[in-house]
Symmetry: C2
Subunit: 159 residues, 2 copies
Amino acid sequence: MARSARTTDTDSPPLLAEDGALEELIGYALRRAQLKLFHQFTARLSAYNLRPAQFSALAIIAQNPGLMQADLARALAIEPPQVVPMLNKLEERALAVRVRCKPDKRSYGLFLSKAGEALLKELKGIARESDREATSALNDEQRGQLLSFLTSIYQTPEC
Amino acid sequence: MARSARTTDTDSPPLLAEDGALEELIGYALRRAQLKLFHQFTARLSAYNLRPAQFSALAIIAQNPGLMQADLARALAIEPPQVVPMLNKLEERALAVRVRCKPDKRSYGLFLSKAGEALLKELKGIARESDREATSALNDEQRGQLLSFLTSIYQTPEC
DNA sequence: TATTGTTATACTCTATAACTATA
DNA sequence: TATAGTTATAGAGTATAACAATA
């Protein structure tokens, strides 16, 4: 399809042709869709002065109390140096803490504070809302299928 | 599902818990999957010293010969100032040209050179290959469904 | 010698305001 | 005055090398 059936006659300005090769690429559609969800979620999080990656960090720490920074970096698919300023901000705001609690004294265990847990609970609701709003073109069955397809893709090993 | 059926017992290192709220968010899965496709495509394009956005620009110009820079910016979902260095590089490499050909002498018409058209044709093949490889966990029907879901999402107006 | 966390650095991407030349 | 393209700039995000403390 050159134009989705969803496209109505209300998109008035004379748009560019949309039947090039790009529209058949999953990578292209993935990028466009991801940008849209990311922007909408970022806008909602801005009320909390947080970025999506910080929300993910809170969720991962809550799910894995006591994990090390290197673990968090791997879970977020970022490099260890990027974790440092992020955790600094979460610690400044008393949402998370670094605790020297391991046999290995080089490392920290990461935990949420009570405030961090409370905020995370609220943010999870925001995230679900944002998710639903941005995918309002799909029904619940389609959402489930989409999630399953995407999970399969990113969990497939590279080679 | 806490762990996908695809996950084998070969993922040896003791991984973090994966049954938090993140795994149920389409936004999260979208980001992980998009990053994966983007990295793989970027790696392939690096042999041509091109970035994914430059490939998209070539495809859009080919599909809409004579379009203006502002149109290209809108089609790429970027801001006009970002188009300038991108087009400069494409023009330096003689892949695209800016032509003062409009009644409005402030604007340029954008066109591909013959070399640009030839390269684009090659790149389209690379893109399809990269797309297929990165989505090897899916069959053709699933790929079609995924593409349709994603297109619906990014074509849905914000409000 | 290797590893955890850190610092410093650099490169890309993105976004905005302000400038120029045309309209 | 408004618009197309441009310049300058600043803020994120990302990636690497190198260092200190610990193993």
